[in-house]
């Protein structure tokens, strides 16, 4: 007995907004990437009609991805940074999430609050905090000298990959722990107790029961942080001012803040987006596979 347009009409304003300000801009990137450049002012001329699409810019961009060329180096570096950062986040984050989900009883409330606090602190503020510590006369250097680990202050902020990776880990690990905690929290306690009851030691129970059950959660949380990490440029900009540690995000940023080669930048954005779409597809495929495998291994 409902008028059929009653409920959809609620969704209309939001849907229209998203079409105009999300879908259309996405298309604009494509139109610019496959468009041309005004020869006088060097402004990008978007090609709205697919029939007018030109692929020469894209081709030259793709050419730069060949080993040895600029984009290749940046891409490899980005992949390495993200991979190492992800590993670091998992190594630190999983134990914390695990402890929070399975063990902390009385302290759970406080720990959850402490876990959530970084979310409400601006990412850049947290980077600012580390800059203060990593300055030549900052607390890190002074403590290390005091402990006798080093004798001279180290230029942590002078374009070191280590600093960038550590900053990435610091910045993104909270976004990993929370979803991981949510998944681990949901695992039925009695499944684990059954494992122990049937003779598995705590360590074996972990590797043969908990870890497989949390595999989906690990995948999901990993995707949740690697997607934005691939587009990160500001971490590198504030922690290391050097182009030697720049990531693909920095490369894209260069073409847009610089102003002159937005078409190239648009092409790069497309390459990045396609890569991330492939990553997402892999994740979705792996999730389906993992659920099936988990069911089989538990039967």
């Amino acid at each position: 007995m409902t008028r059929r347009w009653f409920w959809p009409s609620f969704a209309l304003p939001g849907a229209v907004w998203l079409v105009l300000l999300f879908l259309v801009p996405t298309y604009a990137v494509v139109a610019v990437a496959f468009g041309t450049v005004d020869p006088i002012f060097q402004n990008p001329v978007p090609a709205w009609n697919p029939l007018d699409w030109q692929f020469h810019t894209m081709r030259s961009v793709l050419a730069e991805f060949e080993p040895g060329h600029t984009f290749w180096t940046v891409s490899v570096r980005t992949l390495v940074y993200v991979a190492i950062s992800l590993a670091g986040c998992l190594l630190i984050g999983y134990p914390v999430a695990y402890y929070l989900a399975r063990h902390a009883r009385r302290t759970k409330g406080i720990l959850l609050v402490l876990l959530i606090v970084p979310f409400w602190v601006s990412y850049l503020m947290r980077m600012l905090a580390w800059i203060g510590l990593l300055l030549p006369d900052g607390l890190v250097n002074r403590s290390l000298i005091h402990l006798g680990v080093i004798s001279q202050p180290v230029g942590w902020l002078d374009g070191r990959p280590t600093s960038v990776i550590l900053a990435l880990i610091y910045g993104y690990v909270p976004y990993l722990i929370l979803p991981l905690y949510a998944v681990l929290d949901r695992i039925d306690r009695s499944v684990l107790e059954a494992g122990r009851d049937l003779g598995a030691s705590p360590i074996r129970t972990f590797f043969h029961v908990t870890l497989p059950l949390s595999r989906n959660g690990i995948l999901a949380a990993s995707v949740l942080i690697t997607l934005p990490m691939f587009g990160d440029y500001y971490t590198n900009d504030v922690i290391s001012g050097s182009p030697h540690t720049s990531m693909i995000g920095n490369q894209i940023n260069l073409y847009f803040q610089g102003g002159t080669q937005k078409t190239v930048g648009a092409c790069l954005v497309i390459v990045l987006s396609v890569f991330l779409a492939l990553l997402m597809s892999y994740y979705l495929w792996a999730t389906v596979r993992a659920s099936a495998a988990t069911k089989e291994s538990l039967l």
Partner: protein, 294 residues
Amino acid sequence: MKRVRDWFANPWGQPRALGTITWLYMAWSIVPVLIAILFSFNDGRSRSVWQGFSTRWYWGDPNLSVFHDPAARSALEQSLRLAGLDMLIAVPLGVGLAIGLTRWRGYGAKPVNYLMLFPLVTPEIVMGVSLLLVFVLLYSIPLGTEAQVLGQVTFSISYVVIIVRGRLLSIGPEYEEAARDLGASQFAAFRLVLVPLLAPAVFASFIVVFALSIDDFVVTDYLSAGSPTQTVPIAIYSNARGGTTTPALNALATVMVVVTLLAVGLAYFVYRWAARSQPGTSGRALNEIAALEV
């Protein structure tokens, strides 16, 4: 040394190793921020060497303190202005979208659902670039406050939808059916029953949008038009590495952190109070606010 080892290897108690790691992590996560906040009260110009306690960077120094520095105040005002506008626009749009999507039985529902989900998985730089291009080349919207608001609302809507939709699904259709059974028209049922039940979730989304807006960097930066439209995150980004940067920057950042935490704290208590009589919300309020961030 053996006593330490025994303490760690206790088979019945909480796994000591994990507990230690967790607390160490919490310290590592929060202490740097606390130190930065501490240095905002530094008496000297250094951000790394303690020179005594002072509030000069907040209001003492006549030129460079947050209160007196026009650039700092402008950044603060711009951040709050954008946050306010973002809240006012994104929440109604998002709530409407959530309600419409949950109840929509037709063919349009699925594509609109995907449309809503995509901004959540899109890296910010892609959004920033796409919005910049479309404003300049298609819509002829000048960069600046309006553009920044438009951009922020675009990524905020999806978060509102997720929050409100979760609540809608747990409310279920029964209350409105009961209302209609008792004589309320579809709209009256919506107004008298659904709206009050949804109020805590709507309130929570206001706060989430506020925090998202305050902390946003990439989209806001891409759509900014120079220093009058600079926000606090942009100010931090621009000055973080600067040689002449004073702890005033720390002070500015601290002000933002305090404002945000107060807003979230307020939200938490108001949410608990508002949802106290409603099914399925008490006690897990903390978990719900935690879940919001995902």
